[in-house]
């Protein structure tokens, strides 16, 4: 298993597919509710988040719309384990996923921190001193800048005039410097 769920927290129940409105339920093999991390099961206090559910979804061809559908029907925070190899969590409207090599750890002094640390592990963030929201926002900006650099590079290749190309390269250079500053922090 990717994550070791404490004995008290294990639920291990199959969730019937007809509880959701899937476009095509046949491509999903099984949805299993593996565990429930809450004050009653792992003895940690809850602040804003009452409990975290752990779901495993097995499907031959991965389809994000399945995850979206489940998220929209269940109000709690959910950690998805897809086909025993991919972890997915939703955070502030963003879908964060990772193919996991080693165990995901349950760390933190409250349910909220456990959730935050899950996200950090998915994003490979080692630093736990800064607020997660800021870290995620940073990552978002970095991703956008990287995307922008790629876009400029294609544009450079596509333009014909050398001076236009150089002007684009200059624009890219400014972004690269911003990026270096963000990464340095």
């Amino acid at each position: 298993m990717i994550i070791e769920i404490p004995k008290q927290a294990v639920v291990n129940r199959i969730v019937p597919k007809d509880r959701f409105n899937f476009d095509d339920a046949t491509k999903i093999e099984r949805i299993r509710w593996l565990g429930k991390l809450g004050p009653t099961t792992i003895n940690l206090p809850a602040k804003k988040i009452q409990e975290i559910e752990i779901f495993s979804v097995d499907m031959i061809d991965f389809d994000l719309s399945v995850i979206k559908e489940i998220v929209s029907k269940i109000p709690q925070e959910i950690l998805f384990i897809i086909n025993d190899e991919i972890l997915i969590m939703y955070y502030q409207g963003y879908c964060i996923s990772k193919r996991v090599e080693n165990h995901l750890q349950i760390k933190g002094l409250s349910i909220d921190e456990v959730r935050d640390n899950f996200i950090r592990q998915l994003l490979d963030l080692k630093d736990i001193s800064k607020p997660l929201k800021q870290q995620v926002a940073n990552i978002k900006i970095i991703n956008e800048l990287e995307f922008e650099i790629d876009r400029i590079n294609t544009q450079i290749k596509r333009s014909i005039q050398t001076n236009k190309k150089q002007a684009l390269a200059r624009e890219r250079y400014t972004i690269e410097q911003n990026l270096a500053k963000l990464r340095g922090e």
Partner: protein, 632 residues
């Protein structure tokens, strides 16, 4: 009185003669009116020629002059010597829409220019000489040259193409300032209206020189003008504030703090106000706008009272009465309502920026805090009794080395109010180099990184002039020395890169038809570059050709023990990389290709056989397909 007409003696032929001149003139007017050719326009003899001159392509190129530069490789400032019309044409493509501010100080057309005689004056002189207007010593035979029919036309023909090209260089939020005096102000304003459009004229600043000229037949002139025109006034006003810092604001704030500190049981706020008001009235060098800040509030803020009455459009204004804080009654409201809408009025009340009178009958005013109004719009009057001579004597020049240099302070104010910290400023009538000096001073004051491009003619200094005596044979030498000294004085290390407008780098007789070629001379004709070109000259040929900017950093690297030149290289897919040595190995080619520059430049003479050239092209095609390989 009799109303009988005077008797005409019909036998007198002369009295019945037609005035042919008047008749012809009238006929022309009627013909024009009939053909509807009569219209409002501004034209002069030579306008079409000037128009074509602006449109004609240049055959010139730029030559690098590292020995005349300061920090040639690293500097992002340019000093261009040569005819400014050619310089403007060479800048056209590379700096199209990239210049944020232009200041020029063209010849005023007084006919008295001494050290700085520009090209147009020269050709005029030559013309005059050939037409016999000048004698052999070059003295004018025709005394009153203003009565000369070409007087204004010549000046307009000179300035028209230059202003036209300058407009192309301005960015959308860019602005140009032109210094001028009474001789050509009228024509200049008309010309700028034609080139920039009437709406884009941004006003004329009058520089009061505090010292009337004594040589006038009319009123004694004591001022000059600086005419401003924006590329697009709407975009300009959107991005630029056109404001300068209030000169004495800091002094006022310091004094007010000093007085406010004295407040105690015996010395009340009104005593403090009294003392402060006396002080501000005693200061003669404060402007009216500054003196208006004559009050201190209970927090120690300096403020002025401004009416909140609406000037117009009462239907759009707030008419709600305010509540007087002491009497609790509703205050009077101005006839056309308040200047603002209800929401803004609430905000002002909340921020304690409304001043109530002693009771509700007085209409309340608005409180303007000095700390929030440290900047002021650039006014149309500029007072400065000093010319720029003071600026240049300060850095060790004799006073009369330049004729009429402009004060650094004037241009500094123009720069501060119209440019952001990293913008580019151009002056193509650089003369004494005041603009460059002002750019450096502005940067040192606000920590900016503005860059300058200045161009001036490398005109010879007249014999027995002050400049010649000190050892400067051309004007541009003095300008550069001035920039050097000014930079040293304020510790500016940005330097400048000197470029010279010169004939193209190719040999002039390289284009030969088959009949002109001799087998014996064939080998000489292979290398079509004039041999005296330096590596940097070759680089600049490429930059001119590719319309790349000229003021970007150059770095010299060593690869495989060979020297390569990198120009504006910012990582893959950028910049120019040149190798002009003789030992181009496969390994070196590969290393250059790995850099993936936009342009890789080699010299024709580097290759012994064409097979080598093909080999290099092929290597680039495989390693860096996006690089353009140039062999020159």
């Amino acid at each position: 009185m009799s109303d009988r007409p005077e008797k005409i003696n019909l036998s007198d032929v002369h009295s019945r003669q037609v005035d042919t001149d008047l008749l012809n003139e009238l006929r022309d007017l009627f013909v024009k009116a009939e053909e509807q050719k009569e219209r409002y326009d501004f034209t002069w003899n030579g306008k079409a020629k000037a128009y074509f001159e602006a449109a004609a392509p240049t055959t010139k190129t730029l030559r690098a002059q590292p020995e005349e530069s300061v920090n040639f490789e690293g500097s992002e400032n340019l000093f261009i010597t040569g005819d400014n019309l050619e310089a403007l044409k060479l800048l056209q493509e590379s700096y199209l829409g990239k210049i944020d501010m232009i200041y020029i100080d063209p010849p005023y057309n007084t006919g008295k220019d001494f050290v700085y005689q520009d090209n147009f004056k020269k050709t005029k002189k030559e013309n005059d000489l050939s037409e016999g207007i000048l004698d052999e010593e070059g003295d004018r035979l025709v005394k009153n040259e203003k009565s000369n029919g070409r007087y204004h036309s010549d000046w307009l023909t000179m300035i028209y193409p230059r202003l036209k090209l300058a407009r192309n260089l301005l960015s959308d939020s860019g602005i140009i300032f032109v210094s001028i005096d009474e001789n050509e102000i009228a024509n200049l304003e008309l010309l700028l209206t034609e080139i920039f459009g009437e709406n884009n004229l941004a006003g004329t600043i009058v520089w009061d020189k505090r010292n009337p000229k004594g040589d006038s037949k009319g009123v004694s002139m004591q001022h000059e003008y600086i005419v401003a025109a924006a590329k697009n006034i709407n975009i300009f006003s959107e991005f630029k504030e056109f404001k300068r810092p209030k000169k004495n604001a800091e002094i006022i704030l310091n004094k007010s703090k000093e007085i406010f500190k004295k407040i105690n049981d015996k010395f009340t706020l009104s005593d403090a106000n009294e003392e402060y008001r006396k002080w501000i009235n005693s200061k003669k060098d404060l402007s009216g706008g500054e003196k208006a800040y004559s009050k201190l509030d209970e927090k120690g803020n300096v403020y002025r009272e401004v009416s909140m009455a609406a000037p117009d459009k009462p239907e759009k204004r707030s008419h709600r009465p305010l509540t007087h804080p002491l009497t609790g009654k509703q205050t009077s409201v101005p006839a056309k309502g308040w200047r603002y809408i209800d929401k803004t009025m609430d905000k002002l009340l909340q921020q304690d920026l409304v001043i109530f009178g002693s009771d509700e009958k007085t209409i309340p005013n608005q409180k303007y805090l000095l700390v929030e109004n440290m900047m002021e719009k650039l006014p149309s009057l500029y007072y400065n009794g000093a010319s720029g001579s003071g600026d240049i004597t300060k850095i060790g020049f004799k006073q009369n080395i330049f004729d009429n240099p402009k004060p650094v302070d004037l241009i500094r104010q123009l720069i501060v109010s119209t440019t952001k910290k990293n913008e580019v400023i151009l002056d193509f009538f650089a003369g004494s180099g005041t603009t460059a000096d002002a750019v450096m001073q502005t940067n040192s004051e606000d920590g900016g990184n503005r860059k300058f491009i200045v161009a001036t003619l490398d005109e010879e200094t007249p014999e027995n002039s002050e400049a010649r005596k000190v050892g400067y044979s051309t004007i541009d030498q003095i300008s550069r020395e001035r920039i050097r000294r000014a930079a040293e004085k304020i510790g500016d290390t940005s330097g400048f890169r000197t470029l010279k407008v010169d004939s193209t780098g190719l040999k002039e007789d390289v284009f030969k038809t088959a009949g002109e070629l001799d087998q014996v001379d064939l080998l000489q004709d292979i290398d079509n570059h004039s041999d005296n070109r330096s590596d940097y000259d070759l680089l600049y040929d490429v930059l001119v050709d590719g319309a790349l900017e000229y003021n970007r950093p150059i770095t010299i690297d060593t690869m495989n023990d060979e020297q390569i030149i990198k120009y504006d290289y910012l990582g893959e897919l950028s910049g120019v990389v040149c190798y002009f040595g003789e030992n181009l190995t496969d390994e070196l080619t590969r290393q250059i290709a790995i850099l993936k520059p936009l342009l890789a430049v080699f010299k024709e003479s580097t290759f012994d056989k064409s097979a080598q050239k093909v080999n290099v092209m092929e290597q680039f095609r495989i390693i860096s397909p996006d690089t353009k390989v140039k062999v020159i």
